[in-house]
């Protein structure tokens, strides 16, 4: 439910309740990062490469790799609970179809609500479904990282390049205390 506020110009503005993100650490140094492979082609390779980049550039201490049983629907709550306990932060990839991008965003929002800072990676073609799923799940404006579409079918060196290219954006989603997703 939104609330009405009066701004200095005398206008009233409806402000939606902002989704509360999980607390962000100041850096990734020494942290355990969960990598959730959503099962799409190259998603596992992508999140593993991203984990390596995060270790090389940002000092991530260790990674925990898990795979969703079905990419196109929400991850089982037991899997998200396990990741929440096994890792301090989570990266989810890759939302490179309509249903799997929506599901990836839904998983990211669910992990945030469990208290785990999470960065979701989708391909650029699926911003519409990703954004809309955030609204459906009560987190309008939820931010996620994007890479060029498609991910499926890419050779290993290009998957690595995608991981290198998006790493900074992923980190900004995980550690920037100023980042706040939700207000729409």
């Amino acid at each position: 439910m939104g609330s009405l506020i009066m701004d200095p110009t005398g206008q009233t503005t409806r402000v939606e309740a902002e989704m509360q993100l999980a607390h962000r650490p100041p850096s990734l140094s020494g942290r355990t990062v969960g990598l959730l492979d959503n099962g799409k082609q190259n998603a596992g390779r992508f999140v593993e490469e991203l984990g390596k980049v995060l270790a090389e550039r940002y000092g991530v201490g260790s990674v925990v790799l898990r795979k969703k049983p079905v990419a196109t629907v929400d991850a089982p709550s037991e899997l998200l609970e396990e990741l929440h306990h096994a890792a301090e932060l989570v990266v989810i990839g890759v939302g490179d179809c309509g249903s799997c991008s929506a599901a990836a965003v839904a998983d990211g929002i669910a992990l945030e609500r469990l208290g785990t800072p999470t960065a979701v990676v989708c391909t650029e073609s699926f911003k519409a479904t990703a954004d809309a799923m955030a609204v459906v799940r009560g987190a309008a404006g939820y931010r996620y990282a994007t890479v060029e579409h498609p991910m499926a079918g890419l050779p290993g060196d290009e998957v690595r390049a995608r991981a290198e290219g998006v790493a900074d954006e992923v980190v900004s989603l995980l550690v920037d205390a100023a980042v706040r997703r939700g207000a729409a």
Partner: protein
């Protein structure tokens, strides 16, 4: 009046999965999503999820949207075949 930028955005997403979208804007908003031969069956969200997606992207209330899905077409095709037999 639907949001044309939103329509372009959802069209981009659907086309990447091998689907086409046609929208007729009037008293109600008729949305027909159809599959091309290259369509990825599991990539399309269920119709129950697509309606709020369309509501958000087209910026029209969901209760004004009449959505026709590829499965609806298939059902119609089957019905037609049944009648022909």
């Amino acid at each position: 009046m639907i949001d044309l930028e939103g329509l372009a955005s959802i069209r981009t997403s659907l086309e990447a999965d091998g689907y086409e979208i046609e929208v007729t804007d009037g008293d109600r908003v008729a949305v027909v999503i159809s599959a091309t031969p290259e369509a990825c069956a599991e990539c399309l969200v269920p119709a129950s999820v697509m309606v709020p997606i369309l509501e958000h992207t087209l910026k029209v209330p969901g209760d004004r949207i009449d959505l026709t899905y590829p499965t609806d077409h298939e059902a119609s095709d089957h019905e037609a075949s049944d009648h022909e037999e």
